[in-house]
Amino acid sequence: MGTLPVTTVRPAGWIWASAVVFAFAAFFLPWIGSGSISLDRVLAKIPPDYPIFVQLRVSRTLLGLLAGGSFSLTGCLFQAMLRDSLATPYTLGVSAGAALGAVLTLALDLNHLLGLPAVWVGSMAGAAVILVIVAGASAKQGKLSGVRLLLSGIALNSICTAFILLISSVVKDRRAFSITQWLLGSVDAVSYRALFVFAVLVVLVSIIVMTQGRGWNLLAMGEAWAGSRGADLRRLTIVGYCCGSVITAAAIALTGPIGFVGLIVPHLVRSRISTDNRILMPCALLLGGVLLATCDTIGRIVLAPAELPAGAVMALIGGPYLVWLVRRRF
């Protein structure tokens, strides 16, 4: 029985390396696009380069980085909580709820609600409603169990999906087109104010989630196992469910459903770097952002001046890769 060589890269090294890749992507990706942008003109704030760069490219890249990170972090979280390597941000129904809320506002042709873009309000409201329903349905004697969350989440997921299909088949004209467009998931330029709120949310949630890294490791081995190692199951389940739901709903509100990144990145990081959630989660957050932002960049250059939605690029590249990974590892 030989021993395998111990990994020589220190755990923190992987996190720093991911952070470097993230920073590199944040600086580099905005320069790529259908029209070339000159550094001199941007620095001199000369239009059209300067406004295109700042208003479109940079905000879009930042949104891709943050949304991809949120989906990936939630993927890691739900996979550990449910001990299911196929769990995605979609699994617990919240994403479908957010999507339903957004589709509803598109179908009703609402532009603004409460002074905010209606799609955001719709997604957040949809997510909140589903969160309460799923949590309520799976709580029993004051306890939340992963299995019950999973089953009620899947049930609610199908119900919401059914409603989305129903609405899109009833709605006609350009609204139907905008629903289809939205459901594909795309990274578009958003206001810096929205980005700032989203960024604050992602940072807060990441801190809360990542400081519980050891707890997620325990949960990934089973609830009974985690409980007798001293983990507070109830608190972990509630914290994990709420944190994952909040950033997923926020990400969906801004980009549409691109949850696939939340399946592929955690698996990629697990197979290359570590299963330990203390390393996995920060790396997945950073690299998931890079992956989505990169997919978005690819989507805006391959068919330029037309654009492929980031969600489609992600599925086209990520799907085959995942199949290959599964063939190698399972």
Binding site: T211, A220, M221, G222, G227, G230
Partner: protein, 255 residues
């Protein structure tokens, strides 16, 4: 009345029907207790209640004269480790990572301290799994996995250790190794309680037997007195018969 563990009149209901009914016993460090009974007799439930994973419907559990429900989760798990049945890891954790999980109640920092690593190392050495510390837990055989989980429980340094069918999936030699380790842990001062269905394994290693029947604790005797009144065997099966090993120890054979 100073016992490490005192179970007082514990009862438990599940979906309206009674699983445990007025269970009473107390135990101290150094004892290795085997809990037996037919399937559904309430063994795992009792173990879960003693572990603090389930709250009993009636009665109380005292650990070091203090009600178990007054312990925080971390406080409790510095005292009690529980090895549940059927722990699987679908996600690719290494053996070292699994054993280090036993140090959860001690570490506050992001990563485990050198001390935690030292405890894990000792536990792996003891359970003979140090040689595959960097392998993936999921790729080990059932027996090797069980040793890794036991190592995690040992790394937890508890004074009360609970094992739910620890020798399931082990080959005969590993079963013997497992039970002699448990009795060794008890000799070093821990209180060990294990559920098993293997009568002879229990009689060879444990110091005391508890038998649950339909949620009631019906027998409680020292292992060396097992042969004195073998009527308890009929609680487990009518086909059991008490005999003796050549050394004069009790031995159960089947008819």
């Amino acid at each position: 009345m100073n016992h490490r563990l005192a179970v007082r009149d514990v009862s438990y209901q599940y979906d309206g029907h009674s699983v445990l009914n007025g269970v009473n016993f107390s135990a101290d460090g150094g004892e290795f207790i085997v809990l037996m009974g037919l399937n559904g007799a309430g063994k795992s439930t009792l173990l879960d209640i003693v572990a603090g994973l389930r709250v009993s419907a009636g009665g109380e559990v005292l650990l070091n004269n203090r009600n178990l429900s007054s312990y925080s989760a971390k406080e409790r798990s510095r005292q009690i480790s529980h090895l549940p049945q059927g722990t699987r890891a679908d996600l690719p954790f290494t053996v070292r990572q699994v054993v280090l999980m036993g140090r959860y109640p001690y570490a506050d920092s992001w990563f485990e301290s050198d001390e935690d690593h030292a405890y894990a190392q000792d536990a792996m050495l003891r359970m003979d799994c140090l040689q595959f510390r960097d392998r993936l837990y999921a790729t080990l055989s059932g027996g090797e996995q069980q040793r890794v989980l036991l190592a995690a429980c040992i790394a937890q340094c508890p004074s009360l250790m609970l094992f739910d069918e620890p020798s399931t999936f082990l080959d005969v030699h590993q079963q013997l190794q497992c039970f002699s380790t448990l009795s060794e842990l008890a000799r070093e001062g821990a209180l060990c309680i294990a559920v098993t269905h293997d009568l002879n394994l229990a009689l060879a290693y444990c110091s005391r037997l508890l038998i649950l029947n339909q949620g009631r604790l019906v027998e409680d005797f020292a292992a060396h007195k097992a042969a004195e009144n073998p009527a308890w065997l009929s609680l487990l099966s009518p086909r059991l018969h008490m005999a003796q090993t050549p050394e004069g120890k009790p031995w159960v054979h089947y008819r």
